[in-house]
């Protein structure tokens, strides 16, 4: 029973981590709270719908969703954030919230306010290990998020692009002085982060078999709590906090004897955590 909950928690933790990692990347290089990131995540799910109209194949849907969200992320940073980057922090923050609202409204107007099922039915097998049941959908989501995490880890830590991203996150002026094109590095962080969000959106669409305009709401708030606990800009911290939140939710919801607001839980955990360690898990 406990193991069952843990597997559940790892699956949702994987999704939280993927969404929050995009935020972390963006926050690292641009120091902006990119609330509209969750709008990009929902875009990933809707783009999967579009992909299925063109060519009904799950791999194509993944590619299509990630490519379109990457382009969306690029446009957002270029035309919305970059021009107002020197304004007081509240300005990009509100612009981001405005964009999030606008995106959700657009999805509602284009695809309607109702829940759309994912266009392909997956017949998940349930594996058994001793007397633990391992639902195939959970395994799929968990495994896929590990794959994405590994790719991201490789990009950030083993490539020149990743080095530039870390340098810009550390000190934009100094890295520019040492010949790093910070504008392009920031754009790339958005592109990678948004593609991850797009993949996460598609995965959630598959996992819950539902796509709807406000599907980004809950991940938006939760991923904020995750990056705060992770230490704002720390990739390791985000991974630990993302999976930690998934596990905490699954365990508490499985065993608490009373009804509990699932969405407030992330914030309660965050506030308690901040009172103990205000700089987050891996923050400076």
């Amino acid at each position: 029973m406990v193991l069952q909950q843990i597997i559940n928690g790892l699956a949702s933790g994987g999704i939280y981590t993927l969404v929050a990692l995009g935020l972390t990347l963006v926050y690292g290089v641009l120091k902006i709270l990119h609330i509209a990131h969750a709008g990009i995540y929902a875009l990933g799910a809707y783009m999967a719908l579009v992909a299925y109209k063109i060519y009904p194949n799950i791999y194509f849907a993944f590619l299509f969703a990630m490519a379109t969200t990457a382009v969306a992320g690029y446009l957002v940073q270029k035309y919305l954030y970059w021009p107002i980057i020197d304004q007081p922090r509240i300005v990009p923050l509100i612009a981001s919230i405005g964009l999030f609202l606008a995106l959700e409204e657009l999805y509602r107007l284009i695809w309607g306010p109702y829940v759309i099922p994912f266009p392909q039915k997956f017949h998940w097998k349930t594996y058994t290990l001793g007397n633990i049941r391992l639902p195939g959908a959970d395994l799929f989501v968990f495994a896929l998020s590990i794959v994405f995490l590994a790719i991201l880890y490789w990009i950030v830590n083993k490539t020149k692009v990743g080095l530039a991203m870390r340098a810009v996150a550390d000190d934009k002026e100094v890295s520019e002085a040492s010949g790093i094109n910070s504008k392009w590095t920031i754009a790339l962080s958005f592109i990678i982060g948004s593609a991850l969000a797009g993949a996460a959106g598609l995965m959630v669409g598959v996992y819950y078999n539902s796509i709807y305009p406000t599907m980004g709401d809950v991940p938006a708030y939760k991923s904020l709590a995750v990056i705060v606990v992770g230490g704002m800009g720390s990739i390791e911290g985000t991974v630990v906090a993302g999976f930690g939140l998934g596990l905490l939710e699954a365990l508490l919801l499985g065993f608490l004897p009373f009804a509990f607001p699932r969405d407030a839980l992330a914030f309660i955990a965050m506030i308690i955590f901040l009172l103990i360690k205000p700089e987050g898990l891996f923050g400076e």
Partner: protein, 288 residues
């Protein structure tokens, strides 16, 4: 007529909310994305005091203001520990947690909310709608005067010192902790006033009235009007209250228009319509 009076009352309540958030965000520079929580605490305090103790609006109003101010001081404490973006997210968190408490704890009426909140009356005579509008107008003017006095007094100077540079402020003898908490106390007290007015006007409240989108709307009011100024808070509250009414024919596109306006404002006029640094305001001043 009743329609216009109701709109007028909403404008008044929203102006008080904008003025109150302006003290926290505009004067003291503490980003708060959870102001609806304080509004809700004011409304729930007033509603519960009036319905459970059976007292009148005139008793529940001051009590609600005091309770909201005290809770504001407690919930403002994180601002001492965390900074800027951390605080922004923490205040979102506070909004969600407060709303969840209202919704899930039976004492606060749970999902059903609180009903049967008495409409204000004097000597057994129930207020007319016009009388309520007049009272709201008076409270709005009082709030504006209070906000103006805060802004121009030593408190305002201290708050602005904290906003501009915490380190410099504290090294020139400004007690940063004291002023941050003070900003949350003053801002929350006014939000409590607005909440109490709302509760006794609607006579029925639920947790859904005080969600995160409302916090965004209040913040948008002061940013669109011109942050840190009393006139800006008024204009923002006026515009954002009237706009949905004007856009009623657009019905389905209303939220989209609002969201796009928000983006355009941040992109092209981040100083707000009549903020101190706004081009529009400078032109008006230049001609006068």
């Amino acid at each position: 007529m009743n329609y216009y009076l109701t709109i007028l009352i909403y404008i008044g309540i929203n102006s008080i909310l904008a003025l109150s958030l302006n003290i926290i965000v505009g004067y003291a520079g503490q980003i708060s994305l959870g102001h609806a929580a304080f509004y809700g605490i004011g409304a729930y305090s007033s509603a519960l005091i009036a319905t459970k103790l059976g007292v009148s609006f005139w008793v529940s109003l001051p009590l609600a203001i005091i309770i909201t101010a005290v809770v504001g001081a407690i919930l403002g404490l994180p601002s001492l520990r965390v900074s800027e973006d951390f605080l922004a997210i923490t205040t979102i968190g506070i909004n969600f947690v407060v709303q969840a408490v209202f919704k899930y704890v039976k004492f606060f009426g749970g999902a059903l909310g609180v009903s049967g909140i008495p409409f204000p009356s004097i000597g057994g005579h129930r207020f007319s709608l016009a009388a309520f509008a007049l009272m709201t107008a008076i409270f709005t003017v009082i709030s504006a005067v209070v906000a103006h006095l805060i802004n121009t007094s030593w408190i305002g100077l201290g708050l602005k010192a904290v906003r501009e540079d915490e380190l410099a402020a504290s090294s020139s003898g400004v007690n940063v902790y004291k002023f941050k908490v003070l900003a949350f106390v003053l801002g929350s007290a006014l939000a409590g006033l607005a909440g109490s007015l709302y509760a006794h006007f609607m006579m029925f409240i639920t947790a859904d009235d005080f969600g995160f989108p409302l916090s965004i709307a209040i913040l948008s009011m002061i940013v669109i009007g011109g942050i840190g100024t009393v006139r800006g808070a008024f204009l923002g509250a006026l515009l954002l209250t009237i706009m949905p009414e004007l856009f009623r024919p657009l019905s389905d596109y209303r939220m989209l228009v609002y969201a796009i306006l928000l983006i355009l404002f941040m992109r092209f006029l981040p100083e707000g319509l009549i903020g101190d640094e706004s081009i529009v305001w400078k032109k008006i001043r230049g001609k006068a």
